[in-house]
Symmetry: C2
Subunit: 333 residues, 2 copies
């Protein structure tokens, strides 16, 4: 199996933004040193839930301090980006990192982020489709880009630099919908499944994703599937939950809150306290290995861990990442 980390620099009340950002960097550098496969960085706006609005700049900073780890967005919220600017930034960070970039994309879900940017969630699928079309054309075509779209317009634009990886970095889409799975299989993109859902739901999604391969007569490709999981590895199950459980629940509660509209439209973020505990790998190493084996039994070979929970001390996160690399990683490679 392959294991990465999935980062969000949160900003709990009373903490310092610079410290929070540098803690996230330090965890990423440690992941590189310990042989984790990847660091995926979220993009969030306008709240304490995530203070990395520009995950490309953050990953550029991390790229300069790391050697082997893959660096990805998880995700770039396409409806909120100028797609040509995003294509340029991705290509630049891919070049600076020596071709270590992974391009995670999504349609977005936080009402407050869309509203802040004067946009509606209603357009998000249309915007996503137009944006990724523009981005792929800048990377795949030798012709200059001229585009008269509904949301963006360009004339004779030749974005530079081009990506180091040809024709472009691997693409991952955050999706759990059948039309999303179809898009991924059609384009050869990977799928990123979210954290904090029961293993049964994950199994249901994997079935849906496999069906998308079948519809196109292609064999299921386990290289194209990532699952996110909350993770904190303690000395045993009880102490791990004591350390990280409340922080993880608090993180998810805030995630749900920022996603909702003021009129209470249902957030797509799942939330069920006992299911969360069951889903997360907040435990000792034996339980963690069992839970990863369950995941593997579904055909999932790549898991990224959300460990930088707002309320969990940086030193404990560093210990947990170390402990996982020593006690769990070698058992499942």
């Amino acid at each position: 199996m392959r294991f990465g980390i999935f980062q969000s620099a949160q900003w709990p009340e009373g903490t310092d933004q610079q410290v929070r950002l540098h803690d996230a960097v330090a965890q990423s550098v440690l992941a590189d040193e310990l042989g984790y496969e990847s660091v995926f960085m979220t993009e969030h706006h306008f709240s304490r839930h995530g203070i990395v609005p520009d995950n490309l700049s953050m990953l550029a900073y991390i790229a300069a301090q790391t050697k082997q780890v893959r660096l990805g967005t998880a995700v770039s919220v396409l409806p909120l980006h100028d797609p040509v600017r995003l294509a340029e930034s991705v290509a630049l960070v891919d070049q600076l990192s020596g071709g270590r970039f992974e391009f995670g994309i999504g349609r977005g879900y936080q009402w407050g982020e869309f509203d802040g940017f004067g946009k509606s969630l209603d357009d998000r699928v249309e915007r996503f489709d137009e944006a990724i079309d523009v981005i792929l054309r800048t990377w795949k075509s030798d012709d200059p880009l001229t585009h008269a779209g509904k949301y963006w317009q360009y004339r004779n634009a030749r974005p530079q630099p081009q990506p180091s990886q040809k024709p472009h970095p691997p693409i991952w889409m955050a999706t759990v919908s059948d039309d999303g799975f179809d898009l991924c299989v059609e384009h050869g993109w990977g799928v990123m499944l979210p954290q904090a859902v029961p293993i049964e739901t994950v199994a249901h999604w994997v079935t849906g994703y496999r069906a998308a391969f079948e519809r196109r007569g292609k064999p299921f490709d386990p290289e194209k599937l990532i699952l996110a999981r909350g993770m904190h590895l303690g000395v045993d199950d009880a102490s791990a939950w004591d350390e990280a459980g409340p922080a993880y629940e608090e993180f998810l509660a805030l995630a749900r809150k920022v996603a909702e509209s003021p009129t209470g439209n249902a957030s797509p973020m799942p939330f069920d306290s006992s299911a969360i505990r069951a889903s997360a790998m907040i435990c000792g190493s034996e339980t963690c290995i069992e839970k990863l084996q369950e995941v593997r039994d579904l055909g999932i070979e790549y898991v990224i861990f959300f460990s930088n929970m707002g309320g969990l001390a940086h030193s404990l996160i560093m210990e947990s990442l170390n402990r996982f690399a020593t006690s769990v990683m070698p058992q499942l490679r």
Copy 2:
């Protein structure tokens, strides 16, 4: 006097983009080690003239490899940015760099960049004014930003992170116009004057800038003035020009070409071959000290050097930066 470098990663025919980008990084890291004051990075799009479209990500990468050098945009082309995204990215890089950011802003001048983004140069002043207003409000006000502008709209947006420097990083405007000088004096921003113009023209602009202080009854502040100059320090005047003269002329010719519209609208970039040679500090150390003394006599105490000319070998640029730090810098501090 204070000395910085002013970088543009160009991409001459037959060269490799990754090498060009890493050369620019290496020159920046050397500038940090040698005690230069700053590294300013251009933003350019769609041509070989500059392949750093996202100077924030580039500066983030450089921030991670440097300790003391100030890191600036020169410039961020405000009419082409979403101002809230730009405010977020600047604040993030300011935080990551420990408060070393300098925010250079401009109205833009390259027809091809505006056209590529589906924009007109005609709107550039209006767009600039609206963008900087939005950016400053996100940094100076505790209230969430709601803005129904002509070009951008936001609702209840609270951009995060906030800058490390309070209320925001120093701002520099690239301008040579009286209305630009007035804006700078009014807001307390510095002025960045361009390279490749005769010292007489620089003197004329400094007079105009001083007049803007007088109109407001404020004393002229030499801390708020930067001059850019082409620079290559050789063992003597002749060998310096042999090494770098043709590369500098070629760079400026391309700069002029990309700025022009296809209908031949006059570019604002100056171009006069003998004047260019006279303006640049492509010479030995004695001549360089004389030329810097002329600049200093105008009341200019901060010069940033454009040395990374497309056609000049990286090794010669590194030698020149070293030579300047050893032979010239100590004479003028």
